[in-house]
Structures are given as structure tokens and as C-alpha cells.
């Protein structure tokens, strides 16, 4: 994997990521307030099949109560993504300052395959489990 030096725009993006991560972190405990406003899954209503993000709202609601395992069982990809996003956002500015380099992820086939596999396997899981 190639590495490149952190530029000014990377620092700004990292700062923005931190801000958004903190905002998401602040929104999770309020899940019981905003979650009921979301509509039921239209994809499921039309096709009868769960969409890849089915169970995400309930997972966040459960996560707000601190039940990580149940949240993970409802939608593993969304919960993993959410945790990775918040953790990454909180550490991005520190990484930029301490390490000063960023991995160049462009054109890496294993990342493409990994993303597609994660999305598809999560969809199959959610579908079969009947979340």
C-alpha cells in the first residue's frame, strides 16, 4: 500500500469528520425521539424483501441503550460502520498530527471486493434473519 503526506485539505476534512462524528454521537442517545419519525421500509413494503439497511433504526435505538450485541444482530454492517465512523472521526485529527501520512486506497482490488462482499453478505444476513 502506498502512503502520501497529509495536506491542508486532509486536515480540514479530518476536522469536519470529527465534528460530524461528535454530532452523530450526540444524536444516538436521542434515538427514541427521532426514530419514530422515520417511515417503515418502502423497499420491504413493495417487494416483501428486507433492504440492506433494514433494522438499522432499531439497531441504533438498541445501541442507545448500550446493548451492542442486539444492535449488531439487527444490522451488523450499519453498526460496524457507525462505530468505525465515530471512532475514525474522533481520531482522524490526532492521526494526521501524529503520523502525518495517509494510506492511498485508490485502485486496491481487495478493498473493492471487501466492500462489495460486506454489503452483499449483510443484505443476505438481514434477509434470511428476517430483521
Amino acid at each position: 500500500m502506498k502512503w502520501r503526506a497529509v495536506g491542508p485539505a486532509d486536515r480540514q476534512l479530518a476536522a469536519l469528520w470529527s465534528f460530524v462524528a461528535v454530532a452523530v454521537l450526540a444524536a444516538v442517545p436521542l434515538a427514541s425521539l427521532w426514530a419514530p419519525q422515520l417511515p417503515a421500509c418502502a423497499f420491504r413494503a413493495v417487494t416483501g424483501v428486507a433492504c440492506p439497511s433494514c433494522g438499522a433504526t432499531r439497531a441504533v435505538e438498541v445501541l442507545a441503550d448500550g446493548d451492542l450485541l442486539t444492535a449488531f444482530s439487527l444490522n451488523p454492517l450499519v453498526v460496524t460502520g457507525l462505530l468505525a465512523f465515530v471512532t475514525g472521526g474522533l481520531f482522524a485529527p490526532i492521526w494526521n498530527r501524529r503520523v502525518g501520512r495517509l494510506p492511498d486506497l485508490r485502485g486496491i482490488v481487495s478493498i473493492r471486493v471487501g466492500l462489495a462482499a460486506a454489503l452483499l453478505s449483510n443484505w443476505v444476513y438481514v434477509w434470511l434473519r428476517g430483521v
Binding site: A9, L16, L38, P39, F43, S53
Partner: protein, 218 residues
């Protein structure tokens, strides 16, 4: 700059007055989005595209709110002629207040929305092998795609027009900024809607279509 032979976008040019630069950039994205995205910088500070995106999205929301308000006032006026609406007046004012409060804090949610949407689109772009210029390029493209929010000035259908226009701008922008194929850009923009965020996309479309104050008189 994406294309070194072209001048930079007026809004990204520090020598240009901010308002004149903003208007010139809006005109460019409306009339010739391909050239506009070619002129977009991939290296300068990200806050200019962000300010542009937030500003236009906010104007769009404000216009949608205004249309919603006009519509609700008309309905309320009609119903009050029938009578028995007196007890609904305090709730109506409360709803209006909440709508205005939502408009005031909207820029924060717009920033969060642009960032998370950019991240999702970029992951799909990586998945289809179209990422040539990094996350920053995707973020800039989706900030400038908010030019589409100007379509909110069209009553009733403005939200839907803005949504479709933003997808088109996103596809053009990703093609230019990442120097990738149109097919990969289409996949990156449409796959999150089709496969991943169906529910959220429909909810956002409905929210835009009916304005942010749809339930403010309830």
C-alpha cells in the same frame, strides 16, 4: 484545479468578491456543469465548497418552508371560514415557531448530511473502481451539486426536480473530478439509493417535497 488550462471557479477565487463569485459560480453550474466541475479545485481548502453547498441547500429549505407555510395558511384560512378552528391557533403558531427554529439550526444538519452522503457515495465509488482523486473530490462534487436546490423555487414539484437534478450534477461531477467513466459515476450515485438507503432516500424526497414544516400545524 481539475483542468489546469481553465480558470478556477469564481467562488474559489480569493480575488473575486464573495457575492459576485457565488452568483457567477451558480450561473456556471446551471448553464455548463461539465465546465464548472472541470474548473473546480481539488486541492484548495474544502470550506469554500462547503459554504457554497450549505448556503444553497439552506436557501432551498427556506424556500420550501415558505411554500409550505403559504399552503398551510391558505388551508387554515379556508377552514377557519367554516368555523371551529379557534383552538388550533396556538398550535399553529407553535408549529410556525418550530419551523423557524428548524431553519436556524438547519446549516448544522446540512453539513452533517453532506459529509455522510459524500462518504456513502465515495464508498460505492471505491467499490466500482471509480475513485481516482480521493474522498475530498467526492465531497467537493456533492457540495456543488447542491446548486440543484435552486429548483425549490418551483412550487410543489420543486423538491423532486431538485433531487433528480442533484443526482445528475453528482454524476457529471464525479465523472469529471475522478476522471472516471459515466457508468461508474452513475453506479456510485444510484446504488446507495437503490440498494442501501432506499428508505432514507424516499423519506428525504418526501421531506423535501412537502417542506420541512409539513406537520407544523398539527
Amino acid at each position: 484545479m481539475n483542468d489546469q488550462s481553465l480558470p478556477q471557479l469564481p467562488f474559489e477565487d480569493p480575488a473575486q468578491p464573495a457575492v459576485a463569485g457565488l452568483i457567477a459560480t451558480v450561473k456556471l453550474f446551471v448553464t455548463d456543469p461539465t465546465t464548472a466541475f472541470r474548473r473546480m479545485s481539488l486541492t484548495t481548502e474544502i470550506f469554500r465548497p462547503l459554504i457554497y453547498g450549505v448556503l444553497l441547500a439552506w436557501v432551498g429549505e427556506a424556500v420550501a418552508y415558505l411554500f409550505g407555510l403559504i399552503f398551510q395558511v391558505s388551508i387554515f384560512g379556508f377552514l377557519s371560514q367554516i368555523g371551529g378552528m379557534e383552538e388550533a391557533i396556538p398550535a399553529a403558531f407553535l408549529g410556525m415557531g418550530l419551523g423557524i427554529f428548524a431553519l436556524i439550526i438547519a446549516p448544522v444538519f446540512i453539513v452533517i448530511g453532506i459529509f455522510i452522503y459524500s462518504l456513502i457515495v465515495h464508498l460505492f465509488l471505491m467499490m466500482v473502481g471509480g475513485d481516482q482523486s480521493g474522498f475530498g473530490a467526492t465531497f467537493r462534487v456533492l457540495c456543488y451539486s447542491n446548486t440543484s436546490q435552486l429548483a425549490q423555487v418551483v412550487p410543489i414539484a420543486g423538491g423532486i426536480i431538485a433531487f433528480v437534478w442533484s443526482l445528475i450534477l453528482g454524476i457529471i461531477g464525479l465523472t469529471e473530478a475522478h476522471r472516471t467513466t459515466t457508468g461508474k459515476a452513475v453506479a456510485a450515485v444510484l446504488l446507495p439509493i437503490v440498494a442501501c438507503c432506499v428508505c432514507m432516500a424516499i423519506f428525504v424526497m418526501l421531506a423535501i417535497a412537502f417542506g420541512i414544516s409539513a406537520d407544523s400545524w398539527n
